[in-house]
């Protein structure tokens, strides 16, 4: 029996795949055969359903004590060129403007630099103020790296940080900051960040407290395929323990304006391969998100046949990837998302952050001709 046939049997029998299986899937020459198996799992879990939500991003500050080589967003200190920290009114105003415009947003995604000069109250006030404007809004905020930094910087335990943030309005954690767990890679590309065990411990703690979270992997820098597999298996092990991860989001490295500019970005085939392998390895994480901001809308749409079941959301005002050269639009309207999903032969489902269905089928926005409000996706390799 060939290696893929053996893997197929294990997948169909519901058995977890091994490290060797993961590497074999990455190296298997026929992309579409790997995709077909990933798609089988995707359809077993979700059928044709493809999720999105109405959200927007707040990146309240880009001042950051860490100097990660892949980052084009952060500035080391206040006053550096391009450095900014939002006044709370300014951050709250972003939600107020959408509420005033009657936009039915359901989630705010908040991720920031590791700012060494702000009081902890800045963050709790930020959350509380947003909840005051719209109590039903879901606040998915602060990566494990930020939580870990707050604990160190403000002298609290992880649990204390999470408890205080939750009291102020925190609903769940985004999955960022995981990068690649392998110490070899972390030392080179993000030496200032918390290590793998610390990252996992934050999520373990959050899950124990009943908070849900997502998880990510930054791929396409200097890691080997083995290190990608190792990364995913460590996430899978924590998920076996807690069951608290909702979604895995592979993040492709973008090479503009950062210290790794000489590396080529992962190509479409490499992106899709990574998605398919992730779907097969992470059998216990229910969702796989094709984050269109970094993949580009076209590759993200294609990924819906390579294991992905989620396109993230409308986003708006994303800064981190766009400062790294992502030339995707700043926003994706619900009409466009629905049409993109339908054109892929899938069924769009508007969800909230916790994957409760808000609308699907005919209840979703009508499929009318659309115009992109901002400029077209360019997806250039520079």
């Amino acid at each position: 029996m060939t290696a893929l046939a053996a893997i197929r049997e294990r997948v169909r029998g519901g058995q977890p795949l091994s490290f060797e299986d993961g590497v074999a899937l990455f190296r298997h020459p026929n992309l579409l055969e790997v995709a077909a198996l990933a798609n089988e799992v995707r359809e077993r879990l979700h059928g044709d359903r493809t999720y999105f939500n109405r959200n927007f991003h707040i990146n309240a500050t880009n001042v950051c004590v860490a100097s990660c080589m892949f980052c084009s967003f952060a500035r080391l200190k206040e006053g550096d060129q391009g450095a900014y920290t939002m006044k709370l009114d300014e951050a709250w105003g972003k939600l107020q403007a959408r509420v005033d415009a009657g936009e039915p947003v359901t989630e705010i995604h908040i991720v920031n630099g590791l700012h060494d000069g702000l009081p902890f109250d800045y963050y709790t006030d930020l959350l509380a103020g947003l909840k005051r404007i719209k109590p039903s809004i879901h606040l998915k905020a602060f990566t494990a790296v930020e939580i870990h930094y707050y604990a160190q910087h403000y002298g609290m335990t992880i649990e204390e940080v999470l408890t205080r943030l939750r009291a102020a309005g925190l609903d769940s954690l985004p999955g960022g900051g995981a990068e690649i767990f392998a110490p070899r890679v972390r030392r080179k590309i993000c030496d200032d960040k918390c290590n793998a065990d610390e990252w996992l411990e934050v999520h373990r703690t959050a899950h124990r407290m009943g908070l849900r979270s997502n998880c990510t992997m930054l791929y396409g820098t200097i890691e080997t395929l083995d290190e990608r597999v190792d990364h995913m298996l460590r996430l899978r092990a924590l998920q076996d323990e807690t069951g608290g991860f909702q979604t895995f989001i592979p993040l492709a490295f973008h090479p503009d304006n950062n210290a790794l500019m000489k590396l080529p970005a992962p190509t479409g085939v490499e992106d899709l391969r990574t998605y398919a392998v992730a779907r097969l390895l992470l059998h216990n994480i229910p969702h796989l998100k094709a984050y269109w901001v970094m993949l580009g809308i076209k590759t993200a749409q294609t990924a819906l046949w390579f294991g992905a079941d989620d396109l993230d959301g409308t986003v708006q005002e994303e800064k981190i990837y766009h400062m790294a050269g992502a030339e995707t639009p700043q926003a994706f309207t619900p009409d466009e998302i629905v049409r993109t999903i339908r054109e892929a032969g899938r069924s769009p489902v508007e969800r909230d952050t916790l994957y409760n269905v808000i609308a699907e089928g005919a209840a979703l926005v009508p499929d009318r001709p659309f115009r992109r409000p901002v400029r077209r996706s360019l997806e250039v390799l520079s």
């Binding site: 060939t2 290696a3 893929l4 046939a5 197929r8 060797e20 590497v23 074999a24 990455f26 190296r27 298997h28 020459p29 026929n30 992309l31 579409l32 055969e33 995709a35 077909a36 198996l37 798609n39 089988e40 080997t224 395929l225 083995d226 080529p264 992962p266 190509t267 479409g268 085939v269 490499e270 992106d271 899709l272 391969r273 580009g296 809308i297 076209k298 590759t299 749409q301 294609t302 819906l304 046949w305 049409r339 993109t340 054109e343 892929a344 032969g345 001709p369 659309f370 115009r371 992109r372 077209r376 996706s377 360019l378 997806e379 250039v380 390799l381």
Partner: protein
């Protein structure tokens, strides 16, 4: 214990490299090999005495049941073959009859076809294999196949090499024989062994020639030169085009029934991904899982499987697949088809420059952002200085060709193009891939000359090939809506037909997403396929979605990736007689272009220096040759540079 696969092979010299490994025990636990004349090989297969046989192409077609071909291996030739000859004491238009034996049906059909092409119809007399040579006397010629051909040139005043005649007529190779067998007889491992047998044989051609020559008292050098230079053993896109052209022409002439070549799945997919440091490459994979049948899925699966093996789809079947076939299964079928045509895992690209010599145009197509009507202040025609600079830059950047297209400018007579081409050819080492059918039609109209005359004069001035632009959708209802002043479907096809008749190779395109129905879309492909059956002059097909932004057509933007990939995969399946499918990264982006290499594509197009027509409607992708090679490699293929005729270039 399983019965061994019974193989029948031709005992001729030209087949020995193919059976070399098998004769020396390769796969002996699986195979049982015997030798016979070509016609006998066909009989053994028909009676069930053999499971797989090295068959003349004509015997494959004439076989009453369903057969499959082993991909990648054939006895083929381009130009003189030396062992399929018409000989006689008189030139062939003076022959009243031709003696032939029953040994090779393909050679006989080829002879009859070539005779008919010349308007000749001698009587054909069947004689014993041994008696053929002696039969060529007076007004009776003889068809000689095999070793006897080596000596024929000295014995007869008139000798016609049918391989040479075929290639002169069509520009294509001829496939003399291929491995064919019962559909279930051969799996990926047997395919691999048969290829290995040939690989070993190719490495020992000198030894094979020596052995053969000694046993028969012929000059070994003659035999070796024959195996090295006259016969080629790969069955690639060019050879398959040649085989398809032969089958088509022979069926039109009533010499053979019409039948597509269908293939065994070789289960290969090029290189494993090699960026990691661990684990050796995987063994040969099994084929992709198929969803259980149900709700009419059964026949969709059957359609896809047949198209993947090389079977021909009709418009209704393609429409059905367009609506019902899952995306990945369409992709896998197109990928299998691509593998049959380009089993070497090579993906080609070209370095050329798109020069739009004028934007002045009378047609006012609604989808075009580029044109200016005559008299408009933004209208331009490039000067020799500007052109010269662009062409010199192209040469400096390693370019081999200029894609020269422009508007329909009433100020530019035929003489303008003739002067321009002569000057370009005299000044720069660049091929001219120029003037779409629309432009050629317009020049003919301006000059009140037949299209053929215009083409002949352009060729005389230096035109090398014709780009397939302006086809949009070849459906006159759609054309009337989007570009009412442009040429009709029939005119577009006629210009291409005339170009092919003059020996020019051309490409073909399709722009979709104008609101055409799937029927109209596949009717477009049907037009192209039918003309290709007739002429075999198209080298490649390229399609892309219409980009609405900024144009006067009030249509939704139709650039979603999945629609492109589906249409692309179906194009690969539908255009079974097109050797090459080019992905369109300039409009779809390099990532989707790269993914399309797994949906049937084998060419990454051009490392582009400029492209005005599309870029004015929004797309601004640019890739260098190095970028293209990176995309090709990370998709698991080997990048190679080519020219317009898809010949690989040494870099």
């Amino acid at each position: 214990m399983n019965k061994r696969l019974r193989i029948a092979a031709v005992s001729f010299l030209n087949a020995r490299p193919i059976t070399y490994g098998l004769e020396r025990g390769l796969g002996e636990d699986r195979f049982e090999l015997r030798f016979a004349l070509p016609s006998r090989c066909a009989e053994l297969l028909a009676t069930g005495e053999a499971d797989l046989a090295l068959l003349p192409t004509a015997s494959y077609v004439a076989h009453p049941g369903e057969l499959r071909v082993v991909p990648g291996v054939a006895v083929a030739g381009r130009g003189p073959v030396r062992t399929v000859l018409l000989v006689g004491e008189r030139p062939w238009h003076e022959l009243t009859s031709v003696a032939l034996d029953g040994a090779s049906r393909s050679s006989a059909a080829l002879l009859k076809l070539l005779m008919r092409e010349r308007g000749l119809s001698p009587a054909y007399e069947e004689v014993e294999h041994e008696g053929v040579l002696a039969a060529a006397t007076g007004q009776r010629g003889a068809l000689i196949i095999g070793d006897a051909g080596f000596e024929a040139p000295e014995r007869y005043p008139h000798v016609y090499d049918l391989g040479r005649e075929w290639t002169t007529l069509t520009g294509l190779p001829f496939v003399y024989a291929l491995w064919a067998g019962r559909p279930e007889a051969v799996g990926p491992e047997e395919v691999a062994l048969l290829r290995e047998s040939l690989r070993a044989g190719l490495a020992h051609r000198a030894e094979i020639a020596r052995g053969w020559a000694e046993a028969r008292g012929i000059d070994p050098a003659v035999c070796e030169a024959y195996l090295q230079h006259n016969i080629r053993y790969q069955l690639g896109a060019e050879e398959l085009s040649g085989a398809a052209a032969f089958i088509h022409r022979a069926s039109v002439a009533g010499l053979l029934p019409k039948k597509a070549l269908r293939f065994y799945d070789d289960g290969r997919a090029e290189r494993p991904i090699t960026t990691a440091k661990t684990a050796p490459p995987l063994p040969v994979p099994a084929s992709a899982p198929v969803r259980p049948a149900g709700n009419g899925r059964g026949s969709v699966d059957a359609l896809l499987a047949d198209a993947a093996a090389g079977g021909r789809l009709d418009v209704d079947e393609a429409v059905r697949l367009y609506h019902e076939a899952p995306a990945l299964e369409l992709g896998a079928a197109a990928d299998a088809r691509r593998r049959q045509l380009h089993g070497d895992g090579v993906v080609t690209y070209i370095i050329d420059r798109n020069v739009n010599y004028t934007n002045v145009c009378v047609t006012r197509c609604k989808f075009c952002n580029f044109y200016r009507p005559p008299g408009h202040k933004e209208g331009y025609t490039l000067s020799r200085d500007e052109l010269g600079r662009k062409l010199a830059e192209t040469v400096d950047l390693g370019g081999v060709q200029i894609l020269l297209q422009g508007g329909l400018n009433p100020e530019l007579p035929l003489a303008y193009y003739e002067d321009l081409f002569r000057w370009m050819k005299a000044s720069f080492p660049l091929a001219i891939h120029g003037l779409s059918p629309e432009e050629i039609r317009y020049i003919a109209e301006l000059e009140r000359l037949p299209i053929r005359t215009v083409l002949e004069r352009l060729v005389a001035a230096g035109l090398d090939s014709v780009p397939g632009g302006g086809a949009e959708i070849l459906d006159d209802d759609v054309r009337r809506y989007i570009s009412p002043l442009k040429c009709s479907t029939e005119t577009w096809l006629e210009v291409m037909r005339q170009a092919h008749a003059l020996g020019l190779r051309t490409t073909a395109t399709m722009v979709f997403g104008f609101g055409e129905t799937p029927q109209q879309l596949f009717a477009h492909l049907e037009h192209l396929r039918a003309l290709q059956d007739e002429t075999a002059g198209f080298t490649a097909f390229i399609c892309w979605p219409f980009q609405a932004e900024g144009t006067r057509l009030k249509l939704k933007d139709d650039t979603t990736a999945m629609r492109y990939l589906r249409v692309f995969a179906l194009s690969r399946l539908y255009l079974d007689n097109f050797p090459n499918l080019q992905v369109s990264w300039p409009t779809m982006g390099p990532d989707v272009g790269q993914v399309a290499l797994r949906f049937g594509g084998n060419d990454f197009g051009s490392a582009m220096i400029e492209e005005n027509v599309v870029s004015q409607a929004g797309a601004v992708f640019k890739l260098s040759a190095q970028d293209i090679e990176h995309y090709v490699r990370t998709a698991g293929f080997t990048p190679r540079r080519r020219n317009m005729r898809y010949e690989l270039l040494a870099v």
